[in-house]
Symmetry: C2
Subunit: 409 residues, 2 copies
Amino acid sequence: MTAPFDFAPLLAPGTPAPAAKWNGFPKYNFIGGHNDAKNVPVQALIDAATAVLKREGATLATYGLNSGPLGYKPLREFLSAKLKDHAGIDCASDEILITSGSMQGLDLINSLLVTKGDTVIIEQETYGGALTKLNKLGANVVGIPLDHEGLRLDVLKQKLEELRQKGIKPKYIYTIPTVQNPTGAIMGEARRAELLKIAAEYGVMIFEDECYSDLIWSGKRPRSLYAMAKGEGVIFIGSFSKSIAPALRVGYIVAKWEILGRILGLKQDAGSGALEQMVLAEFCKQHFADHVPKLNKTLAAKLQTLREALAEQFGTDAEFGDPEGGIYLWIKLPDQVDTTKLAQAALAAGVSLNPGQEWSTNKEYARSRLRLCFANPEPETIRKGVEVLADVCRREFGVPLRSANVEKK
Amino acid sequence: MTAPFDFAPLLAPGTPAPAAKWNGFPKYNFIGGHNDAKNVPVQALIDAATAVLKREGATLATYGLNSGPLGYKPLREFLSAKLKDHAGIDCASDEILITSGSMQGLDLINSLLVTKGDTVIIEQETYGGALTKLNKLGANVVGIPLDHEGLRLDVLKQKLEELRQKGIKPKYIYTIPTVQNPTGAIMGEARRAELLKIAAEYGVMIFEDECYSDLIWSGKRPRSLYAMAKGEGVIFIGSFSKSIAPALRVGYIVAKWEILGRILGLKQDAGSGALEQMVLAEFCKQHFADHVPKLNKTLAAKLQTLREALAEQFGTDAEFGDPEGGIYLWIKLPDQVDTTKLAQAALAAGVSLNPGQEWSTNKEYARSRLRLCFANPEPETIRKGVEVLADVCRREFGVPLRSANVEKK
């Protein structure tokens, strides 16, 4: 009975390829939402864990602590206050569902609304994970191009009209209006108001992803779409991954109870991890307001390090903006550079990057674009990593033309 | 734009009913896998959190810490050693995938193997959550009756033969061989060997759920099916929910890499919560071996309290065994009692219970049976709760006949 068992014929159709074995992080790690290690508030997290466990540790004996399936109530109460202050959102703690990361939020909302063949509207350049999930569901994904403020509403309106002519109502418009991923764009309030007007006109729901909205250098941000619409026709998701630590898998959904109750009915996981919620709530009540600006200062400096290194190594061959927040930079290389191929060659040299095509519905447009995340590597690693990347790029594609080493000496 | 938005037409087909608002736990809580609150090792968890965060807190800045997507390596190493000692399993830490509770394990394994119309074999009485998930997937669920040692192999063999005649190969045989849920049965090694032989003969995979296997009064248990088959044709899941605390959502899958790599490819959640994994690993290395016997002593005493209370209140109208482990008792009431109706009436009186039909594929057999979980309520609450339950049962169904109050005085 210990002969090898062939399980392959048992696999459900469409099962993805097996994962590769993990061999550690690359030396120059410019992918994923990893964050700055020195800004993890270790001692404050220890203090928070100690205090909350001493006070409420015995409640770990029950699923959902004493808070029920929406998640640890003090964390929802903190969020209710924070969302009011930061994003202008009026929501009760019972209009917030804690999720195991915002990725579970994406899954739950898709599970509620999207089935094979459904149409959804997203930003042409968007979070790769959202794109992967929608493709796996067999959704018809319509990408709308972006400008410096995000979603181009002229194209959106035209697409909605085209779809209406065909009798198609999209399930939602997925947008990251505040520090867009990957472009870093922040949508102003006037455009937000116009977007809400168009969505209402076509009766389409908005799915607002605010995972990065705490990371704004100025600390000031427009009101969220959810706030401006008073929650009508908008589902909102957020996360602590970017503002505190990504390995803590804690995200949240904000929605009116009519929708949230439905989403909760789909969340068949016996609750999200309680210890992370307890420690976060305890930490955030005291320290969130101070922690985030400190983190942003580090991130803003790392962004400038990355921009300088790119300018130094690539010269005018790399085009990029100066985003006002976030942890990534969206970069255009010369047309002859296929960043999917570049990513493979770079990885062999220890540099990981997100090729544009994984982050866009417009494969041609994204072909020579890439995303670099700057939050995790230390400044010296950023500089060295960009140097290695430029070398690989020169070897594989003949650009950048100038040799950085010569220029620097 | 703040007019009410009607999202109902957007729902995906088959969306379950909205969740009800949570109103706190019932006074006499005999459902769910809740555990004994006094046995939550609060101070040791604080010490563990302090030590591990001090040493490795900065690694929270990266998804997956420094351990990759399988989960925190020291926890997998602890499990590898524990599974060897307790269950006889030889597995490397890279053959273990940490999941967000064992429910995610169920979901991932189903997602790998089961699609609408597929046949799966399960124990006739089984974990209600597993049953719900399979029904939602549209699987053809074949229940095999149980005896005092679990799965009846004569019926299993007959069913497999019938299916073979029809050209149907089941995707797996789902079994909880060690402290079966809900019957508490423990399958002996001889029957395990025979089960493996039959499974191999029909080329069917075994899905072994060991979520309760730490909770055995004697501390001694048969080797796991996974161990006996050297992992060939068996997928194994386990959990810390029952041995440490259910609100910590940490489970695990053990499988050969050919299967585990596939499952990992499906786990698109950016990892399970890191803090819980870190704290558990730190705690378990030092305290697991001492903690579990202490917990078992409490649970064994609570079981006897429940059995005594049932005997006192129901007399011979309640039939039940004396399980050698676990946190629940499976009870037969007189035929005229429909436990689904009893559950509703009891809840109104503050007593929650699991009606048998939710825990069985044989609705007629399970109609007058129920599951009571005894781990969470204190002994006095168990006694009082059973008294209230007997009152409700008498009022609704005329049994138990004798009045406990009279007998006791």
